[in-house]
Symmetry: none
Subunit: 195 residues, 4 copies
DNA sequence: CACTAACCGAGACGGTACGTCTCGTCTTCAC
DNA sequence: GTGAAGACGAGACGTACCGTCTCGGTTAGTG
């Protein structure tokens, strides 16, 4: 049995945490990532700045948690084909990146992560982990069907899919065309199919 | 013949502009994009801050010009195959994004561009124009060879290629593997080839 | 009984205030009023600029407090004659206006006060209040002795005395002759004595 | 006969000088002395800044000339008494200091003069010379009448009169009461009369 | 029931950067 | 050489944030 050393002192108030997350999510949409300040979050949440810094080390960590932790990772359907599975996966990336909060936060947030060595090392595990698990499963199924070989480069394909969606929507700011997922998925699926 | 109304007043000193560009390029590598300040550029260039603001409207414009205007756009060789041509094109993207100045500047710079409506609208013409011209030429040659159809989506393929390279190198921070260009190009080339 | 609502937040640090006042007093002598900058005061006091602006609204208020609040208002002796009392009063004005800090600050400071409606309205209460109290007392004694009538114009006489000393020493820059107080006081005393 | 070496080049345009003086006089009233900038004067006068600096060494010199050189020095009437003559003289000081341009310019202008050694030395000759000549004449007449002795301290009396008026009107900002000149003059006249 | 420890809101703290303004000088072309 | 125009290096302005610190006060568990 694990025995925690009893926590001393007043416990943290979960209502403060919730108010901070809510204020952050609102402000990042209203002001944009760069213009959003910790002080403004504290004021909106009726909270002291220290209460924020006690829980998060800075703006990137805070915004990451406010925007990307509520995400629900629904299982992907098995469509029976690599291209169909990939289309569903790309569509889920599009949905995730197009949500107002994510759209407002992602470019600046990823830039801050990329600029900080400690944070950069965590990008794969934080932003890409669910997508990687799903892509791995899609690849497994494709290999079982014989559509693909055993040596598919998961990370590289994932970077390509995520990069394509992030760049097209997040950086360029293109609206997601209805068939965008299908077109990207078709291109990549054929590229990695066994010949 | 166009006749310019004679410019009045003291002309801008090109040496100041050059010193500012040089100082910017140095500082963006030394400090990173976010930590680089206009005041520090002015000090390093021995120039007043106004002399910078007179020429550029802010940090994004200044860094863009300092980092991405010196680029030489060498013509791509005709390798005889779509995959070969694409490999050369992706390699040029990798080289461009891996250069120390570009690597230091790109994530923050693109985030700032994406966050400013006026600037966002110019990303295609500023960052992607040379690559698009070359991709168009690659597609033309492929169509003439019968490798590809006439309806290739240039922008979408370009966003995918640039997004993949930018995300893989610029955001994730992966070092460019020697065969990276070949692997990405192979995947995309097969994806768009005529069947 | 007055009950103050408990002050919230971290209280202001009196050591910062003292360091700012000290730095201001030094710099106004070293640089002169016009050349003294808030930034230089902050640097000398090892204090952020906000810490100054939090306490004072600008240079005039800051310099006023640094230079004219330390003044000790010693009581005037009762010399037995109007002329003697006035001489003592004028001498105290001379001493006050001749002090290095006051000499360095006064012309520019009064000009800034005079140029700002809000501040102009406070000149009498800030700079002249102690002198007015003493002049009132001098007049009271003179009236009790029968040297003067009851309707002496305190403000006008005070403006004349202060103006004479300020103009002679502060503007013209004349050194105070040893008998300056006696000469001015004699002139004014005879001018207001009952005939 | 003195022969000037022929002036070379284009002669200075008197219309520029006039436009500068006019713009200065207007702006000092509109903006106040401190807020008036040379650049604004140049713009209003449709003149280059150099054209101003070629003629005046800085703001104090320019404003002095714009505001205090147009003054007409009408002769004082001989009223037959020291007090009457002094009243007329004080009234002329009041009129001079109350003019809108002078009122706007004087405190800051005198502060700048007082802060600059070169300029401080010229205050007597620039601002007080006409008044001193007139006061000397008033004293001469008083001495001829036997109202005053031969050793009257002209500079000290003048500093007192000018200081009283400048302080009362210019610094405190009091409106000139109709009998102000008479009251000041009466006080001083009795103070210096022979007993 | 006192004591101790961590949390809380508020806001002051030293510091840095911002983008604008003014200074007095310099550099161009036109007259 | 004078003129208007305007660029130049310098540096002050007052504001906004940063992340930390310091108050009085609250809320828990421990002795």
């Amino acid at each position: 049995m694990t025995s925690f050393p009893a926590e001393r002192g007043r416990p943290r108030d979960e209502r403060s945490s919730a108010a901070i997350i809510k204020a952050t999510a609102e402000l990042v949409v209203e002001s944009g990532y760069a213009a959003m300040s910790i002080g403004a979050v504290a004021a909106r949440a009726s909270v002291g700045k220290d209460t924020i810094y006690r829980r998060w080390s800075g703006k990137p960590e805070l915004v990451y948690e406010a925007v990307f932790t509520t995400t629900d990772t629904a299982d992907l359907p098995d469509t029976g084909t690599l291209q169909g599975d990939l289309t569903a996966l790309v569509q889920s990336l599009i949905d995730e990146f197009s949500a107002p909060q994510a759209a407002a936060a992602l470019p600046g947030l990823l830039a801050d992560f990329a600029a900080t060595p400690d944070l950069r090392a965590t990008i794969r595990s934080r932003f890409l982990k669910p997508a990687k698990e799903r892509l791995t499963e899609v690849f497994d199924r494709a290999q079982q069907r014989g559509e693909a070989g055993a040596d598919l480069p998961v990370d590289l394909v994932l970077d390509t899919l995520a990069g394509a969606v992030f760049f097209h929507l997040g950086i360029i700011g293109e609206r997601p065309a209805p068939d965008l997922a299908r077109r990207i998925a078709a291109m990549i699926a054929r590229g990695i199919e066994a010949r």
